[in-house]
């Protein structure tokens, strides 16, 4: 039944004329051989570029190598074997990717490190996807009425959705649901549509190839490829043109993914940190540009499919230069637009056309966008495991629907400028295109920012930041819009708006193989060799390139795990989807509530004394004094040099064992080497508490720490910890927690200057407090120095580097912190160089979902701290007694 008769000869042909021209490679056709070698070289370069930049996941890296080998075999196969081969290759990719099977697993099995049953167990998720998928395809072709088949599929789909919602019942195959959903949630509808209307040919190879499309296993967000187009574009042009177009698009995809990383790393994407209208504009622009990831992956996917003969059309077409909201809808995710047009817009419009064109169009447009919203929620469900019914998403789609409708009605009633060739447009017309492109770009930036904000309050805060622009900021914003205008003048005239059709290019458009080859080759070589050349010639670029390598969450996202619809559906940052589904493994921080307890005063929280639990995936125990540390006497024993350490969760040692924390490593070393013979014992009491800001550290020292009779007090500060400060003050304001009497005057002054009060939205309070962080730190450091001096305690500030400098704030922040500390009279130990020897900073964090400093990081910090601490606290030779500290 699968090979049902393809009735409509006028629509598509699957064995096109171009295939007749498939070359005989072993014949003496030098030109064709040269073309193939050039294509192979470019493909290899792109695979190496993806590997070098660690784009997306390790699974993609493996898949690209598999695709490269598969491409060569596929190309040399006789035409009739190609599609079955592609189908088999796709199935192999599903099994290997979901089973995390790489060459190392094969070697391990061969050498006996993995048992055969262990190896077979790893095949289960992939085989499950294939089994369920084949079952669904089989239902489509059952020998029964079409309606019955659809009904059966609906029942099967409901059953699978139920199981997806309870994926925890099958822990061994959790990650298969994402892939299964991604493959079938939309394509099954497209397939049924074409099956119903018999607009394309059907066969087992085509069905398997279509549903299990090779790159799908790496990309849950996948373009909705139209089945008819999938069939009709297969080798519909000469192979050099098909392959070369694919390479061009893959390169474009890689380039866009790298651009995305730059935006992601450097754009101001944290509303709470926006301090000016320019920042707000940067946020809006950045959020809109983050979509580059989607278009980049789609280009990469469709480009890769070209390498196997699928001459699919463009998925995105210069969408940042759309000249109207309707035009934007036509250019962004063209496959999706065509999918919903075919399923919802046209049927609704055709049913209602007796009402009149405008009414029919209006209703059809609203129905289409409503369906888009629902289907996006459906997509969210399959990828994330729960439905997304959020007023923000709904309002985003409805606002976009109204904007599209208004421009569509305008175009219907007033017409739209069209020309047979772009050169027919006058300068005035082009200027209009440019201005329209700027206006639409600006509007979409705002709308996208609205969609991406977590809450209405956050959006209000964004508008608040944008509300008082300076003339300079206005000039810069207009400069950017002018640039968009110029690009719109040059390229704003749309030349493509549909994913359907026979080819990717207008028929007869000139194609310059070697010119395209040269461009892709040079571009790919630049991507592969660029980092090495740049760091060699311009050492300053090392940090930039380092940050663009690998794929990790930035600090803000790591904290929030919330970045807008597409960003949150990006599972690429996780090694596997199992990790993402849980975000952090169950029980990773199970003991947080047991380990910390809330306080009603300015300290807000404290560690519960004498408890054992799990924090950061590691067992933690608190001592009787309420510290994550060894047991100490409250009263300092004789001949003991005692240091108290004030810090945050990194200093607590979240994610490492008690004996691995840097303070305990230093303590052990001091007790081994006795740098000062006056003391028989050295103690470092770790008073650090997760999430403490410098104000809490200071108060903790004043209220608790000084009672412990320390000889020295160390305050550990890091760049990213500044966020704790504004969060703490915001909580105090909104919860009406009074600061200590001696802090009140200063903090009231800060609140007044910042113009904040407890009734304001959280994001607005934090954003307005950010400019005063340095002033608060300065006050804290001065008071810290003063309080310690009064008690004869040595005050030391430790600047502790974060394992990963996500936002590139470390150097500036370090400079400022160290400057303020020294100005306040504090001794400073700068631990920044501790991590210099580690090129891959991923090696310094506990886990991908937990950025706390790991064991290696603590060891390096301990080395650096010991190196700085001993000459500072014990400057005189150990033979001579030390006199300037409090004598035990």
């Amino acid at each position: 039944m699968l090979a049902e008769t393809y009735k409509r000869r006028d629509v598509t042909t699957v064995v096109p004329a171009a295939e007749q021209a498939v070359p005989r490679f072993f014949a003496s056709n030098l030109s064709r051989s040269a073309q193939f070698l050039a294509i192979l070289a470019q493909f290899a370069l792109i695979v190496v570029a993806i590997h070098t930049w660690q784009l997306e996941t390790q699974v993609l890296d493996r898949l690209m190598w598999l695709a490269l080998v598969g491409f060569v075999i596929h190309h040399f196969l006789p035409p009739r074997f190609r599609l079955p081969f592609f189908a088999m290759l796709s199935l192999l990719a599903v099994i290997t990717a979901l089973g995390h099977l790489g060459p190392n697993v094969g070697v391990a099995w061969l050498t006996g490190k993995i048992t055969t049953s262990g190896l077979l167990y790893q095949l289960v998720p992939g085989l499950a996807v294939i089994g369920i998928g084949l079952g669904l395809i089989g239902i489509c072709h059952l020998p029964s009425r079409f309606g019955a088949r659809v009904g059966l599929l609906a029942v099967a789909g409901a059953g699978l959705a139920f199981l997806r919602a309870h994926s925890q019942w099958f822990p061994d195959v959790t990650e298969m649901w994402v892939v299964l959903g991604s493959m079938f949630m939309f394509r099954l509808i497209s397939y049924l549509y074409d099956l119903r209307h018999q607009t394309a040919p059907f066969s087992p190879s085509r069905a398997i190839s279509y549903f299990f499309l090779l790159p799908n296993v790496c990309f849950p967000l996948f373009p909705v490829v139209d089945y008819k187009t999938f069939c009709s574009t297969y080798y519909n042009e000469d192979w050099p043109r098909v392959y070369q177009t694919g390479l061009k698009w893959m390169f474009r995809g890689v380039f866009q993914l790298l651009l995305y990383r730059i935006v992601y790393e450097y754009a101001p994407l944290d509303v709470s940190k926006l301090t000016s209208a320019l920042d707000a504009a940067g946020f809006m622009l950045g959020m809109f540009l983050l979509y580059l990831r989607v278009s980049g992956t789609f280009h990469l996917i469709v480009g890769l499919l070209h390498m196997f003969g699928f001459n699919l059309p463009e998925t995105h077409h210069l969408y940042y230069l759309a000249t109207s909201f309707t035009d934007f809808w036509r250019r962004i995710n063209i496959y999706w637009k065509d999918f919903v047009m075919k399923l919802f817009f046209y049927p609704t419009h055709f049913k209602l056309r007796k009402m009149g064109t405008l009414w029919a169009m209006s209703v059809a447009t609203m129905v289409t966008f409503l369906a888009t919203w629902l289907l996006h929620s459906w997509q969210w469900f399959w990828i994330r495991g729960k439905l997304l019914f959020d007023w923000k998403d709904f309002s985003f789609w409805m606002i976009l629907a109204v904007l599209v409708l208004v421009t569509a009605i305008y175009e219907t009633t007033h017409g739209r400028r069209r020309a047979l060739t772009p050169s027919h447009f006058t300068v005035r017309a082009r200027l209009m295109f440019g201005l329209q492109a700027s206006a639409v770009f600006c509007g979409m930036c705002i709308l996208w920012a609205y969609w991406s904000c977590q809450s209405w309050a956050e959006f209000e805060s964004l508008m608040d930041a944008a509300s008082k622009p300076s003339w300079r900021e206005i000039a810069i914003i207009f400069g950017v819009l002018a640039l968009v205008c110029v690009c719109g003048m040059l390229w704003g005239q749309s030349s493509r708006e549909t994913s359907e059709g026979r080819g990717t290019q207008a028929s007869g458009a000139p194609f310059h193989f070697w010119r395209s080859t040269a461009a892709v080759t040079v571009g790919a070589i630049c991507l592969v060799a660029g980092p090495s050349v740049a760091t060699w010639t311009l050492p300053g670029t090392k940090e930039l390139i380092g940050r663009l390598h690998g794929d990790v969450l930035n600090a803000h996202d790591l904290a929030l795990q919330r970045r807008g619809y597409y960003e949150e559906l990006d599972l690429g940052r996780m090694d596997d989807w199992r990790c993402h589904d849980a975000q952090e493994p169950e029980g990773w921080n199970a003991g947080r509530k047991m380990f910390y307890r809330q306080r009603s005063d300015f300290l807000m929280k404290e560690i519960v004394p004498s408890v054992s639990t799990v924090l950061g995936g590691t067992a933690v125990t608190s001592n009787r004094l309420g510290m994550r540390d060894r047991e100490y006497q409250k009263l300092k024993p004789p001949n003991t040099y005692r240091i108290v350490l004030l810090g945050v969760s990194h200093d607590v040692g979240t994610g490492v064992k008690e004996d691995q924390t840097y303070e305990n490593l230093v303590e052990d070393r001091l007790n081994r080497h006795y740098p000062d013979t006056h003391y028989a014992r050295y103690e470092i009491l770790n008073m650090s508490t997760g999430g403490d800001c410098v104000l809490q550290m200071l108060l903790r020292l004043e209220r608790i720490g000084f009672d412990l009779q320390p000889d020295a007090a160390m305050m550990s500060v890091a760049a990213v910890d500044q966020q704790f400060l504004v969060e703490h003050l915001r909580k105090c304001l909104t919860r009406e927690i009074e600061p200590p009497q001696s802090y009140r005057e200063f903090l009231d002054g800060i609140y007044k200057k910042a113009g904040v009060n407890g009734q304001m939205p959280d994001a607005a309070i934090e954003r307005r407090l950010v400019p005063y962080v340095s002033e608060i730190q300065e006050w804290v450091f001065r008071r810290f120095a003063q309080q310690c001096t009064q008690r004869g305690v040595h005050s030391v500030l430790i600047y502790r580097p974060a394992p990963m400098d996500f936002r590139g704030v470390e150097p500036a922040c370090r400079r400022e912190t160290v400057r303020l500390a020294r100005a306040a009279g504090l001794e400073v130990i700068d631990l920044s160089p501790a991590f210099d020897s580690v090129a891959d900073r991923n090696r310094l964090i506990v886990a991908k979902w937990d950025e706390h400093t790991n064991e290696l990081g603590h060891r390096l910090l301990a080395d650096k701290l010991y190196e700085g601490l001993v000459p500072l606290l014990f400057p005189v030779s150990s033979i001579q007694p030390v006199s300037h500290f409090q004598t035990p």
Binding site: V11, H197, S232, T326, P347, F350, M361, T412, L420, E500
Partner: protein
């Protein structure tokens, strides 16, 4: 109806509605209309209405696709098939 008559009527409609001022000779039988954006989704609806009224045919939603409407030749072939 003569195929040339169909093409001629459709060409006249497209030139009047969407390409005013363009050289009629530049719009050939094989000029892509949908894939180049000359006929967008809204214009397609108008073309469909025109074809239905002009040639007294009924077009289904799934027939309003690029394969049937991309060029004058495609349109002529489609109309001829519908009338047959």
């Amino acid at each position: 109806m003569n195929p040339e008559d169909i093409k001629s009527a459709v060409k006249k409609f497209i030139l009047n509605e969407y390409l005013p001022g363009e050289d009629p000779a530049a719009l050939t039988d094989t000029t892509p209309l949908v894939t180049t954006g000359i006929l967008d989704s809204i214009a397609v609806l108008k073309v469909v209405s025109f074809l239905e009224n002009q040639f007294d045919i009924l077009i289904q939603p799934h027939e309003a696709v690029v394969e049937n409407l991309n060029t004058l030749s495609d349109i002529e072939r489609f109309v001829a098939a519908k009338k047959a």
